[in-house]
């Protein structure tokens, strides 16, 4: 075979291009102190249809979450004006996260004993070491976090839409510092609304909402939010 050397060269070149798949590198969320919630199911049976034939329109049902008990609370009527919940998942795809505050009209806990507040900090979760003063919390309180920069540019959110693919993408390196319903300092990172917390969503019909988030509550009442040792 005259072309032995050529064939050998081709094979060698082929082996150099060992293009195999790589498993995506996902950093471990557990740090020993924070609570990590994976794939918490939201209201998956809802529909947004506006008059599409044959479809019953059913808006998304809100639900709440209790940090200490790590529990989802579905009876919103019963629990709204209590201290049984710290954050609520409301609205379209349950993507608007609200806090439990008795004096805030925007909160479902209005009229109850809740002291919740939420502010946004542009730092990765593990670098947030201390909450700001109570004064600063009050001044920068957003009341809710949802779609970034909506309705106003100063409304920091935890996700935004890619207008070409219609997929919601989590805002990275942003942490929310909040006061729980009881008034304790906590930090929260909302990671994903899609099942499996994928790094990138490549399918328009990826199951949602399935919430992945992690949080740390400073039970001693101080402003120390350090979680990495």
């Amino acid at each position: 075979m005259r072309h032995t050397t050529l064939i050998a060269a081709v094979l060698v070149m082929g082996s150099i291009f060992t293009a195999c798949t790589k498993k995506e590198d996902r950093p471990d969320l557990e740090d020993g102190k924070s609570t990590v919630i994976n794939d918490l199911e939201g209201d998956i049976g809802a529909s947004m249809a506006d008059g599409i034939d044959g479809k019953v329109k059913r808006p998304f049902k809100d639900w709440y979450f209790n940090f200490k008990k790590k529990e989802k609370i579905t009876d919103t009527v019963e629990n709204a004006r209590t201290l049984n919940w710290d954050i609520g998942f409301t609205g379209v795809y349950n993507s608007m996260v609200v806090i439990n505050n008795g004096t805030d009209r925007k909160s479902p806990g209005y009229g109850g004993p809740g002291k919740g507040m939420i502010i946004s900090v542009n730092l990765p979760y593990k670098l947030v070491a201390e909450a700001p003063s109570a004064e600063e919390m009050k001044n920068n309180n957003l009341s809710f976090v949802g779609w970034d920069k909506y309705p106003q540019p100063y409304n920091a959110g935890w996700y935004f839409y890619d207008l070409k693919t219609h997929i919601s993408i989590p805002v990275k390196s942003r942490t929310f510092i909040l006061l729980t319903a009881e008034g304790k300092y906590a930090k929260l990172e909302l990671l994903n609304i899609y099942k499996g917390n994928p790094a990138v969503v490549s399918d328009l019909h990826w199951p949602a909402p399935y919430f992945t988030f992690r949080y740390f509550v400073q039970e001693d009442g101080s402003r120390n939010l350090k979680t990495n040792e």
Partner: protein, 797 residues
């Protein structure tokens, strides 16, 4: 130094130089001769072609012709004439000598043979020679397709330089299309046997719909070609030429089986009838695949959906008289696909049913003076029905459901006006009807067109191709699209080319008439024609929060336009090596974007379509071909592409809205964006390259190929923060290499062929490339039926 010579002697010197260069012309040779029939009677108006220079001469009343200023060397001389057998011979031209030859043409048998001429591409369905248009063209032969072992059209085209199969995530998991020179798939016209195919998913034409089993040749033109083909030929044209007729009865049965339970079975046959006055060809193909999953999160179901498909085609040709023939062509394809998807929760079932019907009737007439005329009626119908069922609730999410008809009538003529001018012209009309559940009623579009192209040999070295097409559309008025190309033979082995052309694309039915609300997320998309009525309905229902000022632009949607500039050269330093370099620049205007124009009270957006975008796609394409030996060939291709949205560049410079900032991970914060932060348009790779080794040994019957394809990283989606443009910190699809190989062996005097191929040898997969399958190993065998003769059957390569 010249100044030192007195004036009168300067003139003498100049004259001496001039006459030297004139005499240098004597370095070339001349070819002349007489064309007669078998009885020795001189024939007039016969075209004699000399290749590779492709120079032409016409015989005069005495049958004489002359071709001068030919470089010394060996040429292939071909003579084709209606009613005669084609004549081909090799001739040697010597410096300063006049080679004289006598050509005797034998009367051909009375069937209009399809004459195979090396280097020329005669297409029975279209008088326009695709390879002789202003813009650069490329041909993929059936032999090449066979050596790749491909089964479906997307597999063949994605390995060509500058072409990529891309997924349109925003249009659903079934939206895939072909990207050419950076243009989205909606801008490349797909034609079958010279007639346009319809049926796109938001502009995306899924090429896996088409089997390669009956493809004779694929012709690709890159660059705006609306001067010949009208709307949609903005990025270029892909023309699929299906099997040609021959005069010998032949048949083939082929079966392939491979990974993912892929089965590809083909049966075809062709035979003359009515004493060689007619020929008929039939082919049938069945293909099925289980699809492939590249998404590790998907527990059940595939990202490249499973499907099975039937394709039937029939062609017939009947000689009405000596000079005219009737051609009939019919094609029917059906595809059925069921994809049951589950991520462990929320299982759903995605069902697609697709039907393609193409038919045409054409009358071909050849007149005594050499004019060729083709009158053709073409009908195509496409129907699709796709929906997704939520298996938990039983509710149905409708997808694309529509029926699209195109009726087209065209008259085409071609004529050699003089030894240096060839004219092709045509005129016709088209009527398109679309019946889509998502539109308020069925919609129609009609247009008529007239076009012409001149191929003019200006001088022995310089040739010019110019064309123009006039389209009159019932919605968009009239459009004139010209194009011009020059070809200059600078030296024997160097050809310079330049071309410019314009293209346009009328808004599609979706951009005009769509009224759609996404059932899952609640956003609404309104076509431009429906916008004001529908927005009023929503306003009256109290569902609109506010309408953006940009909405004022919505009204008459204009066609998208582009101008293509292309220039380059072909250089053959050695007979066996050919280098092709081409630089292109496409200037896009009035491109239609879907923009958010209003906000609903439920927090969701309303989109509509506006002519807002300006962009350019520019780059270079380099191809190198080396025929190492009679059996071994190496070819390499590379494309460099810059795809830039001018609106984004302006917005970044002006600091408008979200464009003003980019999230810098190093700062954990946003900073002012600069032009350098804009990488380019999504889904486009800066670099694409390929190398192909092909081996074909006539004697032993072995042939095969080994190919490597490379795509550099391309933008997939935004990340970090929304700034509406692709910055270096966004999500990209990794760059990758794909290796494939195939080998074939023929036995029993070419009756039996065995094939073995491996696509994607390294099993490369990526979640962000849903349509890319893993390693596919395929085994196949085919049996050709034909009468053994001393002359081998038409080698259709």
């Amino acid at each position: 130094m010249f100044n030192l010579i007195p004036i009168k002697y300067r003139l003498l010197l100049l004259f001496a130089f001039a006459s030297c260069s004139l005499r240098a012309a004597d370095v070339k040779g001349k070819l002349s001769g007489i064309v007669t029939n078998e009885a020795g009677v001189p024939l007039q108006g016969i075209a004699i072609t000399v290749d590779p220079d492709h120079k032409r001469a016409l015989s005069d009343a005495k049958g004489r012709f002359t071709l001068d200023h030919l470089y010394a060397g060996t040429y292939t001389l071909t003579v084709t004439a209606i009613g005669y057998e084609s004549h081909r011979e090799e001739i040697e031209v010597e410096t300063g000598k006049n080679k004289s030859i006598m050509i005797r043409l034998k009367a051909g048998n009375h069937s209009l043979d399809e004459v195979e001429i090396a280097g020329a591409h005669r297409n029975p369905d279209n008088l326009i020679d695709m390879m002789k248009t202003a813009m650069p063209g490329q041909v993929i032969t059936r032999k090449e397709i066979e050596m790749m072992g491909s089964r479906r059209l997307d597999e063949v085209l994605k390995e060509q330089t500058g072409l990529a199969i891309v997924s349109d995530i925003g249009s659903g998991s079934r939206a895939v299309g072909l990207q050419m020179q950076g243009f989205d798939s909606g801008y490349t016209m797909i034609m079958i046997d010279g007639q346009p195919m319809v049926g796109r998913n938001n502009g995306n034409f899924d090429l896996s719909r088409i089997t390669v089993s009956n493809i004779e040749r694929i012709e690709i033109i890159k660059g705006a070609s609306s001067c010949l083909f009208g709307s949609e030929a903005l990025a270029g044209v892909i023309n699929i030429v299906t099997r040609k007729n021959i005069t010998e009865p032949q048949g083939m049965a082929a079966l392939r089986y491979g990974s993912f339970n892929m089965i590809d079975a083909t049966l075809e046959g062709e035979t003359p009838f009515a004493g060689k006055r007619g020929t008929v060809y039939f082919s049938g193909n069945y293909y099925r695949t289980e699809g492939f999953n590249s998404n590790p999160y998907l527990k059940e179901g595939k990202t490249a959906p499973p499907f099975d498909s039937y394709a039937l085609q029939g062609r017939g040709r009947y000689l009405l008289t000596d000079k005219s023939s009737l051609n009939f062509n019919g094609r029917y394809t059906a595809r059925h696909s069921v994809n049951e998807i589950s991520y462990g929760v929320m299982p759903s079932k995605d069902v697609l049913d697709e039907y393609d019907l193409n038919g045409s009737v054409a009358l071909n007439t050849n007149f005594n003076d050499g004019t060729k005329l083709k009158t053709q009626y073409y009908l195509t119908r496409y129907q699709t029905n796709q929906n997704i069922t939520d298996l938990n609730s039983g509710s149905l999410i409708p997808g694309n459901q529509f029926e699209q008809y195109l009726h087209r009538f065209e008259v085409q003529g071609a004529r050699v006006l003089s030894p240096v001018v060839e004219l092709t012209a045509g005129a016709g009309g088209a009527y398109e009807l679309l019946d889509n559940n998502a539109y308020r009623s069925s919609k129609t579009m009609a247009n008529y067109f007239i076009y012409g192209q001149i191929d003019w040999q200006l001088s022995r070295r310089l040739s010019f191709i110019g064309g123009a097409r006039y389209d009159d559309h019932d919605k968009y008025g009239a459009k004139l699209n010209p194009s011009a190309g020059l070809r200059y033979q600078a030296m024997k082995n160097l050809v310079l080319k330049a071309a410019v052309g314009t293209g346009f694309k009328t808004p599609n039915f979706q951009q005009l008439y769509l009224v759609f609300t996404n059932v899952q997320t609640g956003y609404t998309v309104l076509g431009a024609e429906e916008f004001w009525r529908e927005i009023q309905i929503l306003k009256d229902a109290g569902q609109i929060t506010n309408v953006f000022p940009m909405a004022r632009q919505i009204g008459n949607l204009k066609p998208e336009r582009s101008v293509s500039y292309s220039g380059g050269f072909t250089y053959s330093p050695l007979g066996s090596v050919k280098l092709d370099v081409n630089v292109f620049y496409n200037d896009l205007k009035d491109f239609i974007n879907s923009e958010q124009v209003a906000l609903k009270t439920n927090g969701q957006q309303v989109y509509s379509y506006v002519n807002i975008a300006r962009a350019y796609m520019t780059g270079t394409e380099i191809g190198l071909n080396w025929t190492m030996s009679k059996s071994l060939n190496i070819s390499a291709g590379y494309q460099l592409l810059y795809a830039v949205d001018k609106g984004v560049v302006d917005s970044i410079k002006a600091g408008t809205g979200s464009y003003a900032l980019v999230y810098d991970p190093a700062l954990y914060d946003m900073r002012r964006s600069t032009r350098k932060d804009y990488v380019g348009m999504n889904n486009r790779s800066r670099h694409m390259a390929n190398i192909k080794f092909t081996y074909a040994e006539e004697k032993t019957g072995w042939s095969g190929s080994f190919r490597v394809n490379y795509r550099s990283k391309y933008g997939f989606m935004e990340a970090n923060r929304a700034n509406n443009f692709l910055d270096p910190y966004d999500t990209f699809v990794r760059s990758f290499f794909l290796l494939s190989g195939a080998v074939q062996k023929t036995l029993y005097q070419k009756h039996l062929q065995l094939q073995f191929s491996v696509d994607n040898i390294m099993d490369y997969r990526d979640q962000l490339m849903p349509a890319q399958q893993g390693r596919a190993i395929v085994l196949g065998l085919s049996w050709r039926f034909f009468k053994n003769r001393t002359v081998k059957p038409m080698d259709r390569s």
